[in-house]
Symmetry: C2
Subunit: 169 residues, 2 copies
């Protein structure tokens, strides 16, 4: 049942942007490193006209999960030095963008929807980022209990003040 | 700055599986519809040998976010009747798989890591599903407060008993 070592499973998977992220952050330098760091930052995602019907009923939710393409990242690093640590960590134990599949994930507050635009608070995403998906945030699905955070223990209080730099560009 | 209506942004985005999901669920019929529904289900993801180094330090985390390809879904529906409701809802207000980019997301408990295998509890993913990413679950990033869940209000208590069927195949 298992694939032979090193043999990649079948084929590539193709996605297309469903829209674009609009934010105040036009450079990786100085960006918040997570939504909590960008408390003041408002922005919006605009979906393509062909997908607008898919936004129906989303306005009843207070928070959404955005998936997007880290489009300015051009390399993969399996060990990274994250913003919140000095030690190199395995890429899957971090949220750094130099992942084998550079997909970003942010949980953000939904402010309102106007036509094809979904206005958001606490956005931590580069302006012009291609949007891949919007999902409703549902505590019963997405909020586990008794959580441990490994190497991040005691470090997340720096989120509000740490800023991004160009290390992952 | 905004794209003309209906003009898709630039190009397609290509990803590759980083591994495969192994679970007891070999058919969409009878699967749990979310991790909470599959409390008894254990499984594992196996990453490709070339990505094993990226798992370093992940074992300190109690929960991970899995992103994967809904590979058995072959169509897009912008309005769907979800498992937990009778009304058609906009696809981006649901977690249904018939999304423009069929990317699935599950928050699951990490049990242990052995080599290239990450053993997981409460898995709600079809056996053989291509894995796209593993991210550590971090409450400070991923757990918003004062959450409202729109059309799902009062319906999520059925999660533990509702099962999947073939409607999204």
């Amino acid at each position: 049942m298992l694939r032979p070592m090193g043999k990649p499973p079948s084929k590539k998977i193709e996605f297309h942007p469903i829209g674009i992220v609009h934010s105040p952050f036009t450079s990786l330098d100085g960006m918040p490193i997570q939504p909590k760091g960008g408390a003041a930052a408002e922005g919006f995602v605009e979906v393509l006209a062909e997908y607008q019907a898919g936004l129906k009923d989303l306005d009843g939710f207070s928070h959404v999960i955005l998936l997007y393409h880290f489009h300015q990242v051009s390399r993969v690093e399996l060990a990274v030095r994250p913003f919140l640590d000095e030690e190199p960590r395995g890429i899957f134990a971090t949220r750094a963008p130099t992942r084998p599949n550079p997909i970003g994930l942010s949980v953000v507050r939904l402010v309102r929807i106007e036509g094809r635009r979904v206005y958001l608070e606490n956005i931590d995403i580069l302006d012009g980022t291609p949007l891949l998906d919007i999902k409703p945030y549902v505590p019963q699905f997405d909020r586990p209990e008794d959580v441990r955070v490994g190497w991040l223990s005691g470090k997340t209080d720096q989120i509000g003040t740490k800023e991004s730099d160009a290390r992952f560009k």
